[in-house]
Amino acid sequence: MMDLRELYQDIILDHGRHPRNFRTIEHPTHLAQGHNPLCGDRVTVYMSLDGDRIADVAFQGRGCAISTAAASLMTEVLRGKTVAEARALFNQFHARVTGGEGAALPETLEEEMDRLEPLTGVKAFPARVKCATLSWHALEAALKGGSPGTTVKTE
């Protein structure tokens, strides 16, 4: 069996305990909720776009260490990115946590992807992949729908 420390690396435990950007945004341009029906966890992702660029992104909710850390790290890497870059990162991230290889990323984004690398330990624990992707699915829903109140389920 895989060592549990592969799943719960220090960076994940740290972000799980002390999530960054764990707040609301007063007047978000985009907002969506993610819901994992398996565990009842919920996350709300708030975003402020300035043109095509993510000026601010934050989240709130209740989740396990993995989903909290994933949301926290996501907000850190996404600030200042364009919508296209955010989508490229999600594609790559999704591929890696499910054990695949996504399309190659430009070098600037590779660095950001490295920061998300600790989360890819979930690929050995299939039941936990949804925890790592919940906030990203919510982000995608926010970008797609945009209208506040959109809820996405991890299915």
């Binding site: 069996m1 549990l4 799943l7 719960y8 435990l13 799980g16 305990r17 398996l38 565990c39 009842g40 966890d41 919920r42 209740r62 989740g63 396990c64 260490a65 993995i66 624990f125 936990r128 925890c131």
Partner: protein, 417 residues
Amino acid sequence: MRPASLRSLSPAPGGFDPHALRREFPIFANNPDLVFLDSAASAQKPRAVIDRIADYYRTDYANVHRGVYRLSARSTELFEEAREKVRRFLNAADRSEIIFVRSTTEAINLVAQSWGPAFLKPGDEVLVSVLEHHSNIVPWQLLRDRIGIQLVVAPINTTGGLDVAGFADRLSPRTRLVAITHVANATGAVVPVEAVVQLAHKQGAKVLIDGSQAAPRLPVDVQALGCDFYAMTGHKVYGPTGIGVLYGRSELLSAMPPWQGGGEMILHVAFEKTEYQEPPHRFEAGTPNIAGAIGLGTALDFIEELGRENILEHEEALTGYGVDRLSRIPGLRLLGAGQRRLGILSFDLDGVHPHDLAQVLDQHHVAVRAGHHCAQPLMEWLGLSGTTRASLGVYNDERDIDALAAAITAGREMFAR
């Protein structure tokens, strides 16, 4: 039936040795490190049940209630013998009061869909409790949306037991059915169903009891309880999946319209008019889960041989040990179960999400359930999104609880802030 008496495994007169009993469950030989504490989700199967199902297919299999040939007659006999075993298990007055269904869920849906529209009118009330599993909530909501009944919810008290006074308050002349659990799946709270039945009947309401968690743990006597319906499932009483039971009092079942239509449930079919069978066959359209019923019968033999009172004693003693052991873990809060808790230990560990904890427990080979346990309204009531739940079976002993406690402590250390 069984090669050797299970009691021969027991060190104490009357009781049984749970650890020795593990030899009767092949899952433990094939998973030697397994600490299985998820029997409330589904119990493991004794060899007798596994073998009986295979033997039945090998030696006695044919469809039931159809053929005139001997093999079909034998199969029918075995199927009906299983029904008789269930009758004895629940102490129903008559075998015709035992309907084979797929699960507890299907049993409750049968009542909601057959008895409901036939005997309820808009404005009538169905009373449930906060403790219910989704399977004893959603069928009544579907019925509400279909025919306009009201769904009323009885509260729990601060200790997590049914608030009997609050329950009595919510009974009214419009209450036509009380649908309530016997043992709450999320907390192990034992509901005083005797009092519930008395109060409900005084108001003229019928009572359906969800016995999913009670049937494997408590002696159940539907006549002594006086309930009108009792639902249980096979896979939690050490039987196979896909088989469950609805008990219904004869006079109620006889007055109920068919639920599903098909073969088996008819007397005579013509395009102008079809005449239906009497219960129980009226409610068993199509070829039933014959092997499942026979396997369930063997599981009930297994339980009877261990002794219902012995099992209750075992569950009570181990539940007490678990409460004591877990309560001493700092930061651990057991969910209240009122005055009586049986076989289920549901808890919250400060600062550790149930899924993270369950992941650590799995690393220690401890199998538990984490989440809302299909009781989201109860979780909402308690202000929790979920809990970690350990539940007991006949094969568990103190060692399993000790392993659980050690693994929880390891999890606590890992996630401690």
